[in-house]
Symmetry: C2
Subunit: 219 residues, 2 copies
């Protein structure tokens, strides 16, 4: 048999990227294979060739968008440590440019489309758990005492002041801010977004005392 001309996966990624652009602009409900093909400068024959169905195309697009967003966050976490690392990840996630703005809008569209299907809700929950685990790792070295029950004597299942709960809260707060900024008509400047997000995240994460290393190294 003959080898495929181009990279099959790369071709699928190109289609998925075009799909993200169309979704961010015209929404997920009005996404049409014909419109998507037109955005690619092609016809629906391309789409049916690389994807068995529209659902498969949309699912693959969703995976790519989330994975890219998550990978970018993990990459940003490698360069620093401590609070700077948390700040770096937050700054990397915020919708400060067109690419990230479309990313968050597409994620919002996918989240909205997940309410109608238990299967999609479970997948959404799995993705959220990955975010929570990531932010738990970011927050753990910042929480003052690991097990020194300051206020809560018992290590509550998943509630009180442990690092897991704090990471979950930070993740939800950052996600909420990113979504809100991404949905704004006139985008907020990157400096405003980063300043606001850092201030609120720092409020949420303890250890702010003795943080007189004001406006630290991170540029």
């Amino acid at each position: 048999m003959s080898r495929p001309r181009g990279d099959h996966a790369e071709r699928r990624a190109v289609i998925a990227r075009a799909a993200t652009a169309v979704i961010a602009e015209r929404g997920l409900e009005t996404l049409t294979l014909r419109d998507l093909a037109a955005a690619l400068g092609a016809t629906t024959g391309v789409l049916t060739h690389y994807f068995p169905s529209k659902d498969a195309l949309v699912a693959h697009t969703k995976e790519l968008v989330f994975d890219a967003c998550y990978a970018r966050a993990r990459l940003a976490a490698e360069g620093a440590s401590g609070r700077d690392r948390l700040h770096a990840v937050v700054a990397e996630l915020l919708p400060v440019d067109d690419e990230r703005r479309t990313t968050w809008r597409v994620l919002v569209a996918f989240q909205g489309s997940a309410v109608g299907s238990a299967e999609l809700r479970r997948a959404h929950g799995r993705r959220m758990r990955r975010w929570f685990a990531l932010f738990e790792d970011l927050v753990t070295p910042l929480v003052p005492a690991a097990g020194g029950g300051r206020v809560s004597p018992r290590p509550a299942p998943g509630d009180d002041g442990n690092a897991a709960a704090l990471g979950m809260a930070v993740a939800l707060l950052v996600e909420g801010m990113a979504i809100h900024f991404a949905m704004l008509e006139r985008p907020l400047s990157a400096a405003r977004q980063v300043a606001f997000a850092r201030a609120q995240v720092d409020r949420l994460v303890p250890g702010a005392r003795r943080s007189s290393r004001r406006r630290t190294v991170a540029r």
Copy 2:
């Protein structure tokens, strides 16, 4: 001309309530006038009689859901003051029962459908601003000093540690928690939700020192 038999607005509200149930269960993209009429035990003739179009029906449903949610929050705020008031509003909003869970799921679906339309995005932004204003009111009496620039000497436009920014952050955090809990397959118990939300909100809102009035009056 003859008078209308029943209350026209009430009939529209009944239809909108049925629409919320259908949307929370099967999603917004798959919402069909025929399905909605079947859920009402009627046919599409009812819908076309009370709404000029499907878009009008959906828009009215969205308004009703948001207004009910917002009114419930304001009502919960009337009974208490100080930090208890904030706690009461948070507990009132969390998806601790089926009704509130469907409310949040429908709100998520509407948020997702708003990404494709600049008009809907603007309406979404207006609704968010109402949430921010409400939470700013809740948080203002809790912020230590009104204008005593503790860290920020200049009153930044909307960034730093003022009550507006804090209210916005609390609103986004609460919204994020509510959405996350509402999307879970197996719902978290009301006690868990309230305990987690209060702990994180209290972490975000200053003045936690001297709050040794542990687990206060609110039941």
